[in-house]
Structures are given as C-alpha cells and as structure tokens.
C-alpha cells in the first residue's frame, strides 16, 4: 500500500493529477482493507491525456461492502466489433434498429463507421470519471 501512496504523490508532484484527484485516490486507498487484493492504482495518470494512445478502457467499481468490479476492455476489440458489425446483413441490421427503437434507443447502426469509432477512441483518451458515493462507493472510468 505504501508504494501506491508514493506513486500517487509522485503523480501529483509531476502534475499528472490534480489535488482533488490525488485526494480521492488516497481516500480510496485508505478505505481498502490491508489484506484486500483489490485492483491497484494504475501506474499512469487516470486520464490518458491528449496525444496519448488509449489502449484499454478501465472500469473500477467499489461498492459499500466488499464488492469490487474491475473490467479492462481493449479498445482494439471495439474497432474489431465495428468491422464485424459492418458485415451484418441489411435485413438483420434493420431488425436490430427496430428492436433498439422499441427500447427508446433511436440509433442507426449504419452511422457507426470505423472513422466514427476512431474519433470516439481519441476522445476517450481524455476521459476520466471519478464518482464517490456517501457510503464509500466509488466508480472510476478511464483510459490507459
């Protein structure tokens, strides 16, 4: 745990995180039990920043009890999924659009092009979401 705190302080010193972000990270560390092997703080700043390639989308959720969720999804998988979706037969795509529309999601899958996904991935490189609840729940979403 001491290494994690030192890493956070180094990031603060280097200006990679703000004071508020460092405080939230330190609070999250303090709330972890000593024997807990929950996901460690990432070595890089939570927000990848402009110009830094986003390779993984990371989601960390900690509940008010001992529940933790750590998900890391490669961005390349998103790109591959879009290319796979482009091969979908038009009939199937129309059915899917109709089903989404019935659920209130009026989204045209034909607009989901590789160029759109690249713009989305580039925008995600600056994404950093930190949510802290009153009961100690935390949600962090960022790119690494």
């Amino acid at each position: 745990m001491g290494n994690d705190k030192a890493r956070i302080l180094e990031m603060l010193k280097a200006g990679k995180v703000s004071v508020d972000e460092a405080e939230q990270l330190l609070d999250a560390l303090d709330q972890r039990p000593a024997s807990d092997q929950a996901p460690a703080i990432p070595a890089e700043a939570p927000s990848a920043g402009a110009g830094r390639k986003c390779r993984f989308l990371r989601v960390l959720v900690k509940g008010d009890g001992n529940e933790t969720v750590d998900v890391r999804v490669p961005m390349q998988l998103l790109r591959a999924g879009v290319k796979l979706g482009a091969l979908m037969p038009p009939e199937a795509r129309a059915k899917l659009d109709t089903a989404l529309g019935e659920k209130g999601m009026h989204f045209d899958l034909a607009n989901l092009t590789p160029e759109t996904v690249e713009e989305f991935v580039e925008a995600m490189s600056e994404l950093s979401v930190n949510i802290a609840g009153d009961d100690g729940e935390t949600v962090r979403v960022f790119c690494e």
Binding site: A38, P39, R55, F56, G65, N66, E67, T68, V69, D70, V71, R72, V73, P74, Q76, L77, R79, A80, G81, K83, L84, L87, M88, P89, E91, A92
Partner: protein, 91 residues
C-alpha cells in the same frame, strides 16, 4: 496482431471452493485460423450454404472474427464480493 495465448479463469465461492484454470488458447490458433480462412471460400463455392443467411454471415465474417478474437488480448474481468470471486483474463 497476436491473439491471446492463454485464458485464465478463477472462480472462488464461499468457503474453500476454488477453481483455477489456465486454458492454452494457442493450441486453438491453427484451427481457428484455418476455419477463418477456409469458411469464406467454402461459402462462395457452395450455393446451399449461401441460402442459410446466418451461416453465410458467419462464413464471410471469418477474418473479422479472427481479428475480434485477436483483439481480446488483455481483456480482464474481475468481480469480487467478499470471499467470492470471478476472474477472467485473456493473456
């Protein structure tokens, strides 16, 4: 892009029930690669296969399916609740 070599699975339940698996995905690479390359060609050659739209989609999407499989490298899901844990990671 290299596909994932190993699939790690860990499941821990309440008490002492634990399952830990290391699945060597690299043993499946040749099979998946050959299927991804041969199926689209087979679909083009066989009119009967083209009649089945679902199968046709699967066959033509062979290379893209391979890319999607390869893109899974590094994906990790770790869910814990007390002593219970489900961990899946593609190496």
């Amino acid at each position: 892009m290299w596909p994932p070599s190993i699939l790690r699975i860990r499941i821990a339940g309440e008490g002492s029930k634990r399952i830990s698996l290391w699945i060597p995905l690299f043993l499946l690479w040749p099979l998946i690669f050959v299927a991804a390359m041969i199926f689209p060609a087979a679909m083009r050659l066989s009119p009967r296969l083209r009649e089945k739209s679902g199968i046709a989609y699967g066959f033509t999407a062979g290379p893209q399916l391979w890319m999607a499989f390869a893109s899974a490298r590094g994906m990790r899901v770790d869910v814990r609740d007390g002593d219970s844990r489900v961990f899946v990671e593609f190496w």
